[in-house]
Amino acid sequence: MKSSVIVFPGSNCDRDIAVALEKMQFKNTMIWHKETVLPKSDLIVIPGGFSYGDYLRSGAIAGKSKIIDEVIKAANSGCLILGICNGFQILTETGLLRGTLLRNKNLKFINKDVRIRVMNNDTKFSNKYKKDQILKINIAHNEGNFFTDRKHLEELKKDELIAFKYCDEKGNINEESNPNGSIDNIAGIFNSKKNILGMMPHPERMIDEVISNKDGLNLFSSLIN
């Protein structure tokens, strides 16, 4: 499987995601944002970080870059796209995913390990997880407060497009386990064709027991399947 990681000025989880992909035997290429062609890939990852300093709106400026036109083309032809953290924000800015990510409800940057529940394991991104499995994953963001309109929310629920929800250690989805104010505790969503996943938590940070745990590994092994 071939993967491409798009690197914007200010991306800073690009190396981390590359390490994770290579660990799972992806043939990975880093793509600088000024490039105008994408190598043929099975998976395109938009990594976390602060593209363009998060200035204006997080993800907004990266969303206007040339390479994004190529990403949109690839997405439309069915290529798998994964946006993590700032990558998720970029995907919403480009319109590949609907909804938006507002400031965290406490207006502070939040970095900690949270629990998320796998809501749908019948996708290319999550088939190695069990449904309702609880993962402990690190979040690190200023703007992770997912918001969307009623209609879209209904659609997300009806079509099982919610990938992960924030929960507590026992899997309960409630206000206390919602770190940033996201509507319905949503931590990650799919597009309607389920070839695009945007998520705020960082699975690439959870692939090594010495550093954290291995709860993120199955996302990548689902993809290589």
């Binding site: 507002l102 207006l107 407060n145």
Partner: protein, 79 residues
């Protein structure tokens, strides 16, 4: 020619910043505060002589980059 642009969140979009600012002010003892919402403000200087075409340019800038039309409204004023 200089313009100001204010960008505000649409009415039905949650405004976490405004909310926190409002709570803080109330905690600080500010009474009679009914509401506060936060937005962005830009000052744009374009090199044009014709106001109409200048304003068109600013509008384009807003649509193309400054504003996320899904969640935000904007207003342009000449200054």
């Amino acid at each position: 020619m200089k313009f100001s642009v204010t960008v505000t969140l649409k009415k039905d979009v949650l405004d976490p910043q405004g909310k926190v600012v409002q709570n803080t002010l109330i905690n600080m003892g500010m009474k009679n505060l009914k509401g506060i919402r936060q937005g962005k403000h830009f000052e744009i200087d374009v090199d044009e002589i014709d106001q109409v075409s200048a304003e068109k340019k600013v509008d384009e800038i807003c649509k193309k980059l400054l504003v996320n039309l899904i969640i935000e409204d904007y207003k342009i004023n000449k200054i």
